[in-house]
Symmetry: D2
Subunit: 306 residues, 4 copies
């Protein structure tokens, strides 16, 4: 079973590798983050919380938000519609922002690459970017059990300014009939959802809920369907760590979703949720220290999938 001591040891181990990584460099707000920060938090199925290191330091959720927007879109449209008409569920082996596959396929490969996440975002109900985002933020607060979660305005503005590659993907999806509604409203919402500030604790709560079959470990409230939680855990395993997903499955074996803000969400069904923060990234965009902490835990806990 997980213990405070184990978390502390994992943290100590992970810290040894942080210097090998670098913060994301495409916007100044991410680049200037102190790369030596590292934190971890675990939430058990009965709601108990264990933390070590920088587990209360806020960082932007980035691609981990793709889990929440997918939950919202499944609510609004149903999983059948989403996974048959809008996105697939296959891993691609390509970088997260690749455009190549779009020209040969009718739908983006999966909801965790940018193209797929943008297609999913366009399916969320709401007449405007603001309305979509309000619904997203409200759900995020519930899933993370933290009513104080807010948008990071500076990151949002920078994301929006530098988001031309995502704009290209979005207009391509619009031209292909995949993206619904107004492209700029969809993109504005997408940049906002990626720019929400969370902590490792928040991410652990979200992950714990997915591990607990959709039920909040702390409040026992059933927030998403068990079936959706299961589908998302499967997607996390096959597609959650960008084009390093296969290697992470083999070496760590946890369903996980990372973001370039340095976060990783890990969901171990019936066992626990883990939230990680470590902004030093490897060349695939995954937290270096975070992966090492998870390797450490995978070796010592008997809960990896393989």
């Amino acid at each position: 079973m997980i213990t405070q001591e184990l978390l502390e040891d994992a943290l100590k181990y992970g810290k040894c590798f942080v210097r090998n990584g670098n913060t994301a460099s495409y916007i100044p707000e991410l680049q200037r983050v102190n790369k030596y920060q590292l934190g971890i938090c675990a939430v058990g199925m009965d709601g108990e919380v264990m933390e070590a290191g920088d587990s209360r330091v806020p960082f932007t959720i980035q691609s981990i938000s793709k889990i929440i927007s997918l939950i919202l879109a499944i609510r609004d449209r149903g999983a059948d519609y989403l996974f048959h008409d809008k996105v697939g569920v296959e891993p691609t082996g390509d970088p997260f922002n690749s455009i190549i596959k779009l020209e040969t396929k009718t739908r983006p490969f999966n909801p965790f690459i940018n193209a797929g996440a943008i297609a999913v975002a366009s399916c969320i109900n709401g007449d405007s970017s603001d309305e979509k985002f309000e619904r997203f933020l409200s759900l995020t607060r519930k899933l993370c059990n933290n009513e104080t979660i807010e948008l990071n305005e500076n990151v949002y503005r920078s994301e929006k300014e530098t988001g031309d590659r995502n704009r290209a993907l979005a207009y391509y999806l619009k031209a292909s009939g995949v993206l619904e509604g107004d492209v700029e409203e969809c993109l504005d919402f997408y940049f906002k959802m990626c720019s929400v500030n969370v902590t490792a604790l928040d991410v652990a709560n979200l992950s714990g809920l997915l591990a607990n079959h959709g039920c909040c470990p702390a409040t026992k409230e059933a927030l998403i369907e068990s079936q959706s939680a299961k589908a998302i855990r499967a997607l996390m395993l096959t597609c959650g760590m960008y084009d390093g997903s296969g290697e992470f499955a083999m070496t760590v074996g946890f369903p996980a979703k990372s973001g370039v803000g340095g976060g990783i969400a890990v969901s171990l069904a019936g066992r626990m949720g883990i939230g990680v923060f470590g902004p030093a990234l490897d060349e695939k965009g995954n937290s270096v220290g975070g992966i090492k902490m998870l390797e450490f835990l995978s070796d010592r806990l008997n809960c990896q999938l393989f």
Copy 2:
């Protein structure tokens, strides 16, 4: 030598094939054009004009405008800068609106595919879309020797509304550092330049000037450098007929640039310029009747390149 009779015969021959083609269908203004129209005009090096069929019917210039924007960008930035930093000069074998090659190359392949033409458009001086377009329109009128050439507002609005594939290309180029300045201003100008109304006569005048080494056959005014006219004729031969350029070179052997409005510009150095209008297109986007008229002339005139 070309004669009025030969033009009439070519027209008669071309008309037999028009029923095999269809007007462009992506905007209603192009789709509802009468596909049975066909016209041709030839301009000799001393300015004499011969015409047959619908040579005075206005149509939108579409991709033939890529010749004029390239001339303008060469003036503004120089051929060296353009062809080394912004676009290449190689044919691609891909459809005109393909995005695939952009992910593996640093520059678009050539200025006659959409991606390349958008990159070139971004290099034209002018603080706004309006300013760029004013300069473009003024040059177009001079090169075509027709001061009444105007924008087709309806086509422009439709192009702008449906131009998401081109938007995707433009934002991709922006993200790759190829496109200069504001993307939306560049695109607005691009949609405008494609929506200018011309006739086969206008196109023949433009082609005649390129054939006459940059000098207007009618006014004898030297409007572009001989070197630029030569480079453009070479590009027309290798890249001017979309992914049918190789076949057109083999069967007709004329340097030509087509547009989905049904126009084709043909420039035979030291001999003549030809303008064609025939809105019924083949599956590659080239005028069916136009190609047949040019095949007919190529067989009878001794001026094809091969």
Copy 3:
């Protein structure tokens, strides 16, 4: 827990869908197999065996052999060398016989697509195709706990005759410096290893051994390292069902490897191994009836990964 009744019910359920599939058509030996056959076998960790339907009907192992050749190559060369120098471990999203990715990558994506399996096969010790195959066959018999397993000579000859796409992959890998040794010897071995006759019982034994951390459930003999068994189960989940792996992970959630002979190997760590035979395939090359039986069991047993 699994029961005989459950297996029978799964079989009955699976049979309803068989008519939607078709046998592989690329060689006559596979095409003329009776597509209505269906069988399943489960092997528990203490060696008990349960069977239903056509579980003793021989069929060719095809791509399931990629598990065994990988085990052999890991023995001969070590996992580090194999997974860093010869193949990756990432799913591709492309069809199993795709050649496209090879031109942009230095190594094939994973050992379960044809290109990767051929690269792995070239790393197996043995001076000739015969020597390699003898070692492969001997290991297969041990892993499947069946000393009577033999090559299907007719299938082997047909595979060899029609294997030009695989030849293209192999020569491409040779030209890229990935494939070791003689190409034709390697291919001959590859065609042989795919053409070995097995039954659902044999496949269940192999799967049971992988589930039992490398230890044969019947004889308790430790045949492969626990670490290798784990790596292979992870690969089965992310890459085992061709370009349907992501969907299978989401809907069934079992680590599985299929073959176009109609077999599927399923390995549930610490629980059981399952072998399936159903030669009617879906358009991705996976057994239609087999997938349905596994869906049925996944819904009723509490042992899926997600």
Copy 4:
């Protein structure tokens, strides 16, 4: 008009650039050639010959042989069959040995990339590689007006040993139903045809015949149809200089076909044929000194196409 002095000046000019190139490095026989050699030969329409530099030094014909095999295949099968069923006529913008496009197209793009040339080679009549090659050699001697032309056995053996990339292309074409007959016989012939020794004089004679509408300038014998000569000249312009064809068309404007042995064939309809030899290659595989000599002549002769 061309003069001996002009040729000498072109040679002097070309020599200045030779140090920037390197001999082909994939086989020792090509790599160890003295890269400072440079020669040129021009053949007029009445058969007069002018030479400068190393115009009588033998080198392997390499890709220039694709012209001759195409002529032979057109004779055996007709241009219609070849260009509709076996290869296209579009330039690709990809390197000469690229395999990527084959997966998305039914036929190779054109007869001058390796895949297309192999497909064409398979259409040449002859029961064995030897028979095909005998017919090829006999035609080569006639077209080059030199009965002493022979195979370079060493180059042939090296080509065959290292030809795995071409083998991959050939087996891929076989699997796709494009390549006819036995793959290894076809490849053996292909390696032989590329390994024939010629001189700049021989290449100039071949080019002169193509320029003279298929009629040998020296003997006045009509060896190929005027229509075939025309088609080949068009293909040379659009596809003859690998993925540097577009730039060569713009800067030099001659229909040309190069080979990695350092040869270039240039065919100026009704004017002359030129043969070039200069084994120092640029990064696209074209003779550095050869291109410079042709640039020099293009600037001074009034016979470029644009």
